[in-house]
């Protein structure tokens, strides 16, 4: 299996020629520490001569000192270097290891640890071609075997190796192997895994890893490495319809305009008709440009630059696709979501979605259910915690080209990014566009926000008062409105308490409901601003994410965030509505400041310190700000 040092020694040119022709395979190993995962990976590194002699000496010493094999070589120690780092608090999601044989280079995604397992495994599986599911022959199929297999299936890996390990511990029993295999196949079929190769191995002793083991004469299938060296993966990738997401519009001079990207599926040749999405224009490929010369054909996996026969407007993030077999374009989808953030996912909260090279604003409009990864049961859910998986509807702020994840991983898989921390907090798999996405259109209106506002001689504006309950938001907002009214301005005050009686009557005070409440108020405020009004919003709005969402929805230049800054102790002391008392007595839950957080605005347009200024003075400050902004003139 391995490139022998002898060949490198006797004929290096030949060695390099062989090495050059190798293909690449990525696989993920799934199993817990006890299944012998580290031993298996250590064995692969060892067999492919990647362990230097000086390392080997150290390994022999370590094996005697801390090994678990009674002083014999403990191959697991070759890869178990991560424990110390975990103690240091460094998050390790996936470790990547490399080894190669005569035929292939391999990249192994190794996902250590029990906690965070879903997040780690999903990350590792997203780029794997093959999954290796390790089962301890003594224990058989465990609930974690099922969990791993479900994630493998969810992430669209179709080829699975069921490695029945530690066969030496059960006397190389054929019966044990067959029983485990039969049970696994039955389960796997139910979750859509069909292409399964069962290989009986002992990673520790090396049985059936590189050469057929004399201990298993009853087994006539491939060895572990033999299978990985020959399993076909590229044909399927290339047989799919052509897709390339435009990463970079290359315009070095006026004579050249090329679209650079990596082909994610299919094949492309000069003359091929391609469709450009989401704008849905058709042209033909003129040249397939690379540094090494133009190509007659480029295939999935290659980075190229395409020029087209027609001058059409294409930007980064657009998708070039086979003209007759192109992706759909939509802004509402059903998708699987895998949550990876420390903060829970709340429907209605704005995130950024990135698929291919395209980014769009996204919210989960409805969470339908979450999946118990151990039992595969569906349960109702209003949010997703770290490592939870659910199915829901995603709504975007613009239409994007997409494919179902099942057919095109790279145009159907997406990440969700938190808008405040910029962290990647979720991953998702697009399945299909919702029908209403295709049937709901925008009606163009001739009279717009500016036209309506011009008639009343004012600029529309949303003034968003945020702060703790009892901070004085409504009192100040009321005073501001009275003054504006006296100036003859057209206004409306949306009050948090009042909308609860109508618009948001069906919502409670959980985080998820608060997010939805704010979304509704922001939408209504936006409509009112469209109508030309100066809108005052008085709402606790405790989360920065939603205040940011409101700002973006309405437009930053017509949005003014007023932080009514009253310390909790002061607000509680006032307790005009008696709510703090109730909350402290436990009669009211999810009360902001008591048992629900308030995220202090970091960059408000106006900060009103109510311990320093009275209502009148506070209102003056707001009026002055609006006048400076040009909202109205006196």
């Amino acid at each position: 299996m391995t490139l022998t040092p002898e060949l490198a020694e006797s004929d290096i040119e030949e060695y390099l020629r062989v090495h050059e022709q190798k293909t690449l395979l990525r696989f993920i190993t799934c199993g817990s520490v006890d299944d012998g995962k580290s031993t298996l990976i250590g064995r692969l590194l060892y067999e492919s001569k990647l362990v230097f002699e000086d390392h080997l000496e150290a390994l022999q010493t370590d094996s005697k000192k801390v090994g678990t094999q009674g002083g014999e070589l403990d191959l697991a120690l070759l890869v178990d270097g991560l424990a110390a780092e975990r103690e240091q608090g460094i998050t390790i999601d996936v470790a990547y290891r490399f080894f190669s044989t005569d035929r292939r280079k391999f990249i192994v995604a190794d996902t250590p640890g029990h906690e965070q397992y879903t997040r780690n495994m999903v990350t590792g599986a997203s780029s794997a071609d093959v999954a290796v599911i390790l089962v301890d022959a003594r224990k058989g199929i465990l609930s974690q075997t099922r969990r791993h297999s479900y994630l493998v299936s969810l992430l669209g890996i179709t080829k699975v190796v069921l490695a029945v390990n530690k066969l030496d511990m059960v006397g190389y029993s054929e019966e044990v192997t067959r029983t485990i295999e039969a049970e696994y196949r039955q389960f796997a079929e139910g979750i859509g895994l069909e292409d399964i190769t069962c290989i009986p191995v002992s990673a520790l002793k090396g049985d059936n890893i590189t050469v057929p083991s004399p201990n298993t004469p009853w087994y006539d299938g491939p060895t572990f490495i033999g299978f990985l060296e020959t399993v076909e993966i590229e044909a399927a990738e290339q047989a799919r319809a052509f897709r390339m997401s435009v990463q970079w519009v290359n315009r070095p001079d006026l004579d050249f305009r090329g679209y650079a990207g990596r082909i994610t599926s299919g094949v492309v040749r000069p003359g091929d008709r391609v469709r450009v999405l989401p704008n849905n224009q058709v042209s033909a490929v003129q040249r397939v440009v690379t540094f090494d010369g133009d190509l007659d054909e480029a295939v999935a996996g290659q980075s190229v630059t395409l020029t087209l026969a027609d001058e059409i407007d294409i930007s980064r993030g657009d998708v070039l696709a086979a003209a007759e077999d192109a992706p759909g374009v939509a802004d509402q989808f059903e998708a699987h979501l895998i949550w990876m953030g420390e903060k829970e996912m709340l429907p209605g909260r704005p995130y950024l979605l990135k698929v291919g090279s395209r980014t769009a604003g996204a919210t989960v409009s409805q969470l339908k259910y979450k999946v118990n990864v151990n039992t595969l049961e569906h349960t109702a859910a209003s949010s997703l915690e770290l490592n939870e998986i659910g199915v829901g509807n995603i709504t975007l702020d613009r239409p994007i080209p997409f494919d179902p994840y099942e057919t095109h991983r790279e145009t159907g898989g997406f990440i969700l990014v938190d808008r405040l921390s910029n962290n990647t907090v979720g991953a998702g798999l697009l399945h299909f566009a919702l029908r209403r996405s295709e049937n709901v259109h925008w009606q163009t209106m001739e009279i717009d926000r500016e036209a309506r506002a011009a008639l009343s001689g004012q600029r529309p504006q949303v003034v968003w008062f945020t702060g703790l309950s009892g901070a004085g938001k409504s009192t100040i907002a009321n005073t501001v409105e009275q003054r504006l009214h006296a100036f003859g301005r057209h206004t409306y005050l949306l009050d948090g308490d009042n909308v609860r009686h109508g618009l948001s009557k069906n919502l409670g005070f959980s985080d998820a409901d608060r997010v939805e409440n704010i979304r509704r108020v922001a939408e209504v405020a936006s409509l009112m601003a469209d109508a030309g009004l100066i809108v005052l919003v008085s709402l606790i709005s405790p989360f920065e994410a939603e205040r940011q969402m409101a700002r973006e929805l309405i437009g930053s230049d017509q949005f003014c965030e007023v932080f009514v800054d009253t310390p909790l102790a002061t607000a509680e002391e006032r307790d005009v509505k008696g709510l703090y008392g109730k909350a402290r007595r436990g009669e009211l839950t999810n009360f902001t400041g008591v048992d629900s957080p308030y995220e202090t605005p970091r960059f408000p347009d106006i900060r009103l310190d109510t311990t320093q200024v009275g209502v009148g003075e506070a209102a003056d400050q707001v009026i002055e700000f609006l006048r400076d902004q040009g909202t109205f003139e006196l």
Binding site: Y96, S100, E234, V299, S303, I415
Partner: protein, 300 residues
């Protein structure tokens, strides 16, 4: 049906990483150390933006103590390719004449390279820097991500590292933060050399064996590259056929005795060394290993 070789795949992936990173940053830069990994990274950048040139400058954080051959090679290559090169030398180090002999290798490297890099990034306002680190360099790098987010103080916050799925990169950052991107993450040392061989990529001649003046100190062969090198009484440089596995500041880089004068020759030596030579050259191995480590502290 065409089948891509592993090097074609690695090449395409690295190109995709570069195009994506450049598109999502305001002021990208490529760290260029004149070594073999930098050579491959620069070659990939030339490919990624062809027929245009890479839309970013190269940045060499210089210590003034590199081999003369490295400076010659660097300047010739940059002129030939027509790319922009910025050279930064920490002015504090120039003033205080920081050098490996009086200040020791740790202080020397930290001030020239680590501090120098921070200065250069801040001076030019770079928000994204490509580096040539690979995951196979040592066991602990296996978990490193392609994108590494740094705070405005250039600190690496392990809690803020982002999961990387499919080939989607998340390059979003706050003002003042920057991102290091490692397009060669999935390349091994053998891949790098093989690619250099296949693509005929020019590398510094120091990688090839030639007669060079060296002195032996604590079992390590140090090349006497210029007259700044203080010689002990009675110490005489002697001409030996040597080459270098890694390149850095000449007084800190151990040479190995070798007759490998061609790329296949040095690849052969590398492959066979792993099974025989390294254990016999523990000190040399440690020396090159610690160079790698310094490189990481400094650059990564």
């Amino acid at each position: 049906m065409a089948t891509l070789t592993h090097l074609q795949r690695l090449e395409s992936e690295s190109i995709a990483i570069m195009r994506e990173a450049v598109s999502e940053s305001e002021r990208p830069v490529m760290l260029y150390s004149v070594g073999k990994d930098s050579a491959v990274m620069l070659h990939l950048a030339m490919k990624a933006f062809y027929p245009g040139l890479p839309p970013f400058p190269l940045l060499h954080v210089d210590t003034t103590w590199k081999f003369r051959a490295m400076y010659e090679f660097r300047d010739e290559l940059v002129a030939k390719l027509g790319v922009d090169l910025l050279v930064h030398q920490n002015p504090d180090c120039i003033n205080q004449e920081v050098n490996p002999f009086t200040h020791g290798s740790a202080v020397h490297t930290d001030l020239w390279k680590t501090e120098g890099l921070k200065q250069a990034l801040e001076k030019h306002g770079f928000d994204l820097a490509f580096g040539g680190a690979r995951r196979d360099e040592e066991k602990s790098r296996a978990k490193e991500r392609v994108y590494s987010v740094r705070t405005s103080q250039h600190r690496w916050d392990p809690k803020q590292q982002r999961p990387e799925l499919w080939s989607i990169c998340n390059a979003r950052k706050h003002r003042g933060e920057s991102i290091r991107v490692f397009p060669l993450s999935n390349w091994t040392e053998l891949d790098v050399w093989q690619y250099i061989y296949l693509q005929d990529i020019p590398v510094v001649p120091l990688y090839f064996a030639a007669p060079r003046p060296v002195v032996e100190r604590d079992g390590t062969l140090i090349m006497v590259d210029d007259d700044r090198m203080p010689l002990a009484p009675g110490e005489e440089p002697e001409l030996r056929s040597v080459r270098f596995r890694t390149l850095g500041c000449y007084p800190l880089t151990g040479a190995i005795e070798s007759r490998a004068e061609t790329l296949p020759g040095i690849i052969q030596e590398m492959l066979l060394t792993t099974t025989s030579e390294r254990q016999g050259r523990v000190i040399d191995h440690d020396a090159s290993g610690s160079m790698e480590r310094k490189k990481q502290e400094g650059y990564f």
